[in-house]
Subunit: 240 residues, 2 copies
């Protein structure tokens, strides 16, 4: 745990920022934080807005401060697959490559803290600890991607839906007790997004959600609000 004895020397912008604790900024010394904060700026993006284009030259990196970002890939005929979701305080961007190869889009309203590409890359060279944190996040993302490959390749539609709900329940609220027996949350994705995430159609997603509801594994209010009275029952449906 980082001690904030030098709180006075920390940029106002960063004072209450989550990225300074669990995010990458925790790797930085106060003076480095000051230097980086000079070139960084916070911004809000509406749900649906594109953050990073596929072939577009990327000139900035960001920390996700709130909301959910979806990373997508699209085939030439329009078929789309969500290949990752990012939550606060994830780092958004592909270091060491000017073209990302994927699209990043705000799934909900998203709060970002953005930096020019060069600033991060210079600081990475100066601070192995910063690169270490980025490396750690990339390893976590790789673990998650592989977990989803199993879901995409080998699970049934209903197992996919259960796995998805479980994943959201675990990621959406960082402050929640990881061992809690019940959960309540708002889905950050539309049915179409969920379908793109799980390699299904909207209709199949809808039908499986209806089935889970009929079996009293979940309750749904207003299409987006989900209640899971018993996480274990949901885990059972996820088929791991």
């Amino acid at each position: 745990m980082r001690q904030d004895v030098h709180n006075s020397s920390i940029p106002v912008l960063c004072a209450s920022c989550e990225a300074r604790h669990k995010g990458i900024c925790g790797a930085l010394e106060p003076d480095q934080l000051v230097a980086l904060a000079k070139t960084s700026y916070k911004q809000k993006a509406d749900g649906g807005s594109e953050l990073i284009g596929d072939a577009e030259r990327v000139e900035s990196y960001s920390n996700v401060l709130s909301g959910v970002v979806k990373l997508t890939k699209t085939l030439s005929d329009g078929r789309q697959q969500i290949v990752g979701l990012q939550f606060a305080p994830d780092f958004l961007g592909r270091p060491f490559r000017s073209e990302s190869g994927i699209n990043a889009e705000a799934a909900t309203e998203v709060g970002l803290c953005s930096f020019p590409k060069g600033a991060i890359e210079r600081m990475m060279k100066a601070s192995p600890e910063l690169e270490h944190r980025l490396y750690q996040q990339t390893l976590r993302e790789l673990d998650e991607a592989r977990e989803w490959m199993v879901t995409l390749g080998r699970k049934t539609a209903s197992e996919k839906i259960a796995s998805f709900l479980l994943m959201i329940a675990r990621h959406i609220d960082p402050t929640a007790d990881p061992d809690r027996t019940s959960a309540t949350f708002d889905l950050p994705l539309s049915r179409a997004d969920i379908a793109d995430f799980l390699g299904l159609t909207i209709e199949t997603v809808s039908r499986q959600l209806t089935k889970l509801r009929a079996d009293n594994v979940i309750r749904i209010e207003n299409n987006r609000h989900v209640v899971v009275p018993d996480m274990e029952r949901l885990e059972l449906r996820a088929g791991n």
Copy 2:
């Protein structure tokens, strides 16, 4: 390109090793290489042998020097998914975590150069350049995993097979011209492995290979040997 003016000071073990060029050992100074070589050992593993067990405590890392390693995940009821393939000179192991969460198995006969876990981790702390190379490989693996998520989630069986053949053609021979118009190679995986990689059954894999052969997109000799006369035609079938 690394200059080998100090070749005499390089351990015999490493003298002709590919990992010293494109692999992670290229990050090391001669004296570091000597230190690491003291604790490392080369070994061969037969196709089918398990290299890293799922929940097993991992005590060593390796460089893949030859052959192909498959990384798999298995659900409790036995359904299996291959979540990655590793070729020379990839680094094999999950840093910063004692349990890997995945199985690594030799798909073909595999040559490895192994190090005790601690040796690599100590050297990583001392050499940011080493950690940088590992980070770079992990980023590449993440890119590949996401590419496969699209294949698993959104492509048809025949597109999956074509994508798989294309991927093997590109990875199996590091010395081949990336822009060549035809290719010839041995499949490193059995039909069952290909099925586990693509989220299909053996039968579907077999049928789709037969179809590609019937359409003269590929020729197959002795079950494992594949000839692709026209890479572009194969690319067309992969559906990107």
